[in-house]
């Protein structure tokens, strides 16, 4: 997902969940900042580099795709953008190398979604925002994995958009980063085919370009892992579910519900707004248009102005704070949230016997998880 959903739509969901304007802004900013908190930004802030929640294209180009590089990439992308749906999924006739990657395929309503939301309970608004980003991305980025893998993330020429009138139009991807996507003519940018299994081009949904991030898009394609079976992706429906799930999750985090259940969506809070929201989701437009629509909707809900997202909003506060005060700044709390989320997801992946995210440190004790030594690896 992009700024339209992570910032503006998350603001709307937070407000509908009962947060006030200021808190909703804090949650929305945090949700969007997950996409901007790269090592380059952290270096500028002189913040710890291990709290990074994303990697820029330039950073990815510098990483080697040996096992350490792959673990570094997987730790970030699987923790924040491609939360695995089922770490114990089974598939017949596959070796461990393949299964480790297969089990990282992202999808909504997995156990890790519950863990992610629960982790943010009684924590800062920044942690709430991080959780909302992760949960939202499980809908948009489903069926792709947050690890570079040709055999999981590759797509081919069999890629069709389902237009609003029901007809199918073949999508041809071009590979020019500077050329904007043109939904009207079915021209989209995707990453280049690379036959190397661990190439960066095969990370996440790169091969499908930005299609998973467009709320209006319905398409069908052949995921590499699905053995020539077509997969139909209905983004308007998924985004609608994501929006309602965010409201439900934030109501849980505010204390309105005792427990968080997966596959549960808030319907009461969106009563009266469904048509308006679905109209925004279905409108064929790129990010800038969608941002404007969500912003207008959010301002209508709260009656207050939503400032445009600015990545640098809280950076001065962090830079000028004293060393022992940094944790109390907005970004300091955000960094604690990302560290907790990354530790939790990496731990779960490690406990499942999968080393693609590397070894894990217990976020509570700081000790290396010794599950392997105890011989209790689950399969």
């Amino acid at each position: 997902m992009q700024k339209d959903f992570h910032y503006y739509a998350t603001y709307c969901a937070a407000f509908l969940a009962g947060y006030d304007h200021e808190d909703s802004l804090a949650i929305a900013y945090s949700a969007q900042f997950v996409d901007d908190c790269s090592r380059s930004v952290l270096r500028r802030l002189k913040a710890p580099l291990n709290v990074a929640s994303t990697q820029l294209n330039l950073e990815l180009m510098e990483i080697t795709t040996d096992i350490l590089g792959i673990q570094d990439i997987t730790r970030i992308w699987a923790s924040f953008h491609f939360l695995p749906r089922d770490l114990y999924a089974q598939k017949e006739g596959c070796g461990k190398l393949y299964m480790d990657k297969y089990r990282l395929i992202c999808g909504p309503n997995g156990e890790l979604v519950k863990d992610t939301v629960t982790l943010a309970k009684k924590k800062s608004l920044q942690s709430v925002g991080i959780a909302m980003h992760v949960v939202a991305d499980t809908w948009a980025h489903r069926n792709f994995a947050g690890t570079p893998s040709l055999v999981i993330n590759n797509t081919d020429a069999h890629f069709f958009e389902i237009l609003p009138d029901g007809t199918e139009r073949k999508i041809k991807f071009r590979h020019s980063l500077s050329a904007p996507d043109d939904p009207e003519n079915g021209l989209y940018t995707g990453s280049i085919y690379q036959s190397a299994e661990n190439s960066i081009m095969n990370l996440g949904h790169g091969r499908a370009g930005h299609l998973p991030d467009y709320s209006f898009c319905r398409y069908k394609y052949l995921p590499a892992w699905n053995e020539y079976r077509e997969m139909y992706k209905d983004n308007p429906s998924d985004y609608w579910n994501a929006f309602r799930q965010l409201i439900y999750a934030m109501k849980f985090l505010r204390g309105e519900y005792d427990e968080f259940h997966t596959d549960t969506y808030e319907n009461k809070a969106v009563e009266g707004f469904e048509d308006e929201i679905r109209a925004i989701l279905n409108k064929r437009q790129t990010e800038s248009g969608s941002c404007a629509d969500w912003k207008a909707f959010g301002e209508k809900l709260s009656g207050k102005e939503i400032p445009d997202y600015n990545e640098n909003t809280y950076q001065d506060e962090y830079i000028t704070a004293n060393k022992d005060e940094k944790s109390d700044t907005f970004l300091g709390k955000f960094f604690e949230g990302t560290l907790a989320q990354k530790s939790m997801v990496t731990s779960r992946i490690f406990e499942s016997g999968n080393l693609l995210a590397g070894y894990s440190v217990d976020p509570e004790t700081g000790k290396l998880i010794r599950q392997m030594v105890k011989g209790g690896l689950k399969r």
Partner: protein, 182 residues
């Protein structure tokens, strides 16, 4: 929305295989060209000896031996380059048709005939191996190693063409069963 009956899956699988064998054919065509160039470069002396034996001796009466050798060699080189280009173009044509059929469904039959002929020629060349004598000198042993590499690659080529033929035929059969579409 999803078309996932058994025929659809088979059609996609065989079309994908057809595409892969098409790419393989183009690559192996490139290898054939490289092999020809290398053999000319590495076996220059042998070639010159063979040409001298086969040449019309009158050429050695009209010009000096070195000039005659050069003329013979470049004539041979020219013919080799010509055959090399033709060979690569044929491989490229066959591979491209296979890729097009696999990706876009554009059917042609002539390339399958050529693929079949290629396959047949490789099989016939393999039948000839049984007649070769065991090497009893170091030079022959080295030559034998080079032959082994050639046989292995020829086997890959044979497999590629076989795969291409099977995939093309089977994808067409399943397409017909499916009423012409996926």
């Amino acid at each position: 929305m999803e078309n996932n009956n058994e025929n659809d899956l088979k059609i996609r699988r065989y079309k994908n295989q057809l595409m892969m064998s098409g790419f393989g054919c183009i690559l192996l065509g490139g290898w054939s060209a490289i092999r020809m160039i290398l053999s000319v470069y590495l076996e220059k002396d042998k070639i010159l000896d063979a040409l001298r034996n086969a040449a019309d001796w009158s050429i050695y009466e009209s010009v000096d031996a070195k000039t005659a050798d050069t003329v013979l060699f470049f004539t041979y080189l020219g013919m080799t380059v010509f055959i090399l280009i033709i060979s690569f173009l044929i491989h490229f044509y066959v591979g491209r048709c296979a890729v097009r059929e696999g990706r876009d469904g554009r059917k042609r039959n002539f390339y399958l005939v050529i693929a079949g002929l290629f396959l047949l020629s490789i099989v016939i060349s393999y039948i000839g191996i049984g007649d070769k004598n065991i090497a009893d000198s170091a030079e022959e042993a080295i030559s034998k190693n080079a032959d082994v590499v050639t046989y292995v690659l020829d086997a890959s080529m044979a497999f590629t063409f076989l795969d291409m033929l099977f995939s093309a035929v089977l994808s067409r059969i399943y397409l017909k069963k499916n009423g012409g579409g996926e």
